[in-house]
Point group: C3
Chain length 363, copies 3
């Protein structure tokens, strides 16, 4: 693809300095940029890189001496990270999926697929499925019976959408994502050891687990608009009602959302996050990589949990947490430093005991 500096600046709602008609074909880091690349140099630390690389045009920081840096054209943006969004959207070629429906796809005659679809080889679409306009569905995706998907979906290779799942507009589903597996829910005829252990906080229990009987998942999964499902991520269906994922929420790779969970809007779940059954996550929550949340809990709106936080009890809205178990972030940082000092602390206490006991003896 070819883009003029003017076109790029317009897409970013940004200011052009220098030659607006200069053409670039891609973006690159400043030191690696060639003459046809737009260098991304949004910070003064990239001055050296710009000098080493061969870019003629760049996105630069505010106040940069673009001419002194040897550029013929520059784009200035107020919030560089946000500008990356517009720039990369403009330049992303997207996956190559031929327009129309590949002859090898197996699509039930009762399925309704909107205009503008591109459906790849070996896609399977079940009975009574409804898919909106401009769907791009890559090879090997499976969409089971009675599922409804909105407009402008991009579904990558090998995605599995289970029966009766509903999804809003503008879905991004990365390869191998699974929405609508059965929930992990089993029960014993009598009270199980797990139930007793929870009730007694782990004190010795007398129950013996018998064989587990399956509770089937009759509920579906309901997913809002503008949701992203990461590669090999999994969302289980609910037991009676649906598991829900709110508008604007993004799941990273290998995330697990269990049955009956209610995930709010504009939530970020980073890679390897696991959320256990029937837990409620508020709006705008951000859970870092490998965060775990126990079952039947509530995480309030705007909570931020740092990487690997293990949430074992309710978290009030707005809190920033870290650790296992989760605590306020500053508390975790301080306590971690102290943890490393524990050996010396224990030594101090031993000395104090000796000193005080000697005094006692001395008296």
């Amino acid at each position: 693809m070819r883009y003029t500096i003017e076109e790029i600046a317009a897409a970013l709602d940004a200011t052009v300095l220098g030659a607006p008609g200069l053409v670039v074909t891609g973006a690159a880091e400043p030191a690696e940029a060639g003459p046809d690349d737009l260098a991304l140099a949004m910070d003064p630390k990239y001055s050296d890189g710009l000098a080493r690389g061969g870019a003629r045009a760049a996105i630069v920081w505010e106040g940069a001496d673009w001419q002194g840096l040897g550029l013929e054209a520059a784009i200035v943006v107020p919030r560089p990270r946000y500008a990356m969004s517009g720039l990369t959207r403009l330049m992303d070629p997207g996956p190559e999926i031929a327009p129309g429906i590949h002859p090898s796809a197996v699509i039930d005659p009762s399925a309704e697929i909107g205009e503008g679809a591109a459906i790849g080889p070996f896609v399977v679409i079940g009975a009574r499925v409804r898919i909106g306009r401009n769907a791009r569905i890559a090879n090997h995706a499976s969409i089971a019976e009675d599922t409804v998907i909105g407009d402008d979906a991009l579904i990558h290779a090998g995605v599995r959408i289970g029966a009766r799942v509903t999804i809003g507009d503008r879905l991004f589903a990365q390869p191998g994502a699974v929405a609508g597996a059965d929930g992990f829910s089993f029960v014993t005829p009598d009270k199980s050891r797990v139930e007793e252990a929870r009730a007694s906080l782990g004190k010795e229990t007398k129950a013996v687990n018998a064989s587990w009987t399956r509770i089937h998942s009759l509920g579906a999964v309901e997913i809002g608009d503008d949701v992203e499902l990461g590669a090999n991520s999994c969302i289980d269906r609910g037991t009676i009602r649906a598991t829900r994922i709110g508008n604007g929420t993004k799941l990273d790779n290998l995330v697990h959302v269990a049955h009956n969970c209610l995930i709010g809007e504009d939530v970020l779940l980073c890679a390897l996050v696991g959320i256990a059954g029937s837990t409620k996550i508020g709006n705008r929550v951000v859970l870092g990589g490998q965060v775990g949340v126990g079952d039947n809990l509530t995480v309030g709106d705007d909570v931020v949990a740092g990487g690997a936080t293990k949430i074992l009890s309710k978290v009030p809205a707005g809190r920033v947490v870290l650790g296992y178990p989760a605590m306020k972030m500053e508390q975790f940082i301080q306590a971690s430093q102290n943890w490393r000092r524990l050996p010396r602390l224990m030594e101090d206490v031993r000395s104090l005991k000796k000193a005080v006991s000697n005094e006692d003896t001395d008296d």
Copy 2:
């Protein structure tokens, strides 16, 4: 589907009150139930929901005033959670897979498939595979050569069963599950840094890792009866002998079981659990979400590990553990509270040192 209250009660071995012939078509939470739904109101806390919803029939708690709650029929069950099992099994429509073998499936002529099979599009079944009766195999599943699977298997879309794996009756495999990948086993010509670090408990080591050479996996995977494999879960084959999963054991989504592991019977492995190589897990063990177990360890029968427990050494039978490293649950809870109090404790010790030192000086 349509069910009379009498049919449902019979399936649950439960008592009917009121109109046994009343028909329902599904189950719902009390507040969301319509006139054709069976409301699930097994606890007095659902009284208000029942009043708000439109159900004419419900499963109710023992002693409920079902007529006062406006119901025409009620089912009373002694252990509500267990009743969910029978009810959901009765009402689960299961995946729509047309009877017989889809013409696009590639099945080796030497494979033997029992009566009553329903095999979907693009399924691949290798040479000499034997599958029992009533198998339901959804689209895109792959079953490699010499694998044996028992009766009544339900294999969802995109499941990968490797060569020479053996599986008992009543398998449930969720989408994307992998049984029989190669083990993660590599070796260096000379002793590696990891081997030295383990031997010295992390003290500085002199070894330098050279390139890793692969130890191939000659063993298979042996899976018992009544096993469930979660979405995108992985079980690796053994090095010389098989990795084993006992009867009645259930794996949740994204669980990893490494080469040579021996997992007992009626074990629950919740989502994102990882069990490293050659570890033995006893019978009736329950590992919560994100639990990790190191390699070459033994976890005794009936152990329960809470969410995110990291098991780095042997756990005796019957223990309830939590934490990183794993400790008794009550110990973890107490120590976690104390951990948060560490800053104050350190302050106290500083004051004590000062006080005692002053006394010493005063003397």
Copy 3:
């Protein structure tokens, strides 16, 4: 397959004792070995097993009385674990994929595939893909446009290689592995709560997360020679430049490598490891199962991190770490023991305070 003891010894560069022409058909643990198995008895602890089993030949420890143990032939190796590599490579039958290209595969006419390929059913290969010699590609694998893969690749069922990915020689990709999903990168128009929380170390923030806008991934994934990708593992593409995996690096099942990461050579990433965006991992690093590494960090060469270590800050080269947050392994072990002793320590400090305060009062 049939192997003489002499052939096996030659493959291992090892010494034969006894009958070099004796034939075995497989390998087994000593106690389970039959007369056609090579028993693997590299340690004196296997003496009893050898006696109980029926092997006529074995790999034995140095100095073993192989005749006294009832063997007709024995192979002696200096480093048994390393010998496993040669032995298992020799005996691994590999997956059955018929030579040539299965007629159901959909291969773009512009793709170039080297000599000796075996490509299974339903494989999809995109435009302009180049694959080297002797590729074995199992059923259902997808290789997207413009991807380049070297010689001798073994790609298992359902692997997804995204567009423009480059991979060296001798790739092993286990079922369901994904290389080249989009990075998880989102931005808000104004500074987000996460950005503020990081800057203030978790102190209360005023920002409110608005909806997330996607930063698309224009970069690819570059993978070196001799790399292994575990089952359902995921590597995301870079934002502007490629995510890189060095020569000889091995990823276990369910590993996540985020956008822009630079992973060195001969690295081992065990199951469920997650590495956040733009992090650099040095050469010969070993990360145990469930290890997490935060974004924008550097982990130096030869670092070893034990299972479930959570790396939240830079780790210098050569360090052996454990814990959350990561600390030196010996420090973790000592502090963990102390952690369990915290309750008693607090009791001691309470007593000391009382004692010292009494003294003060007494004075």
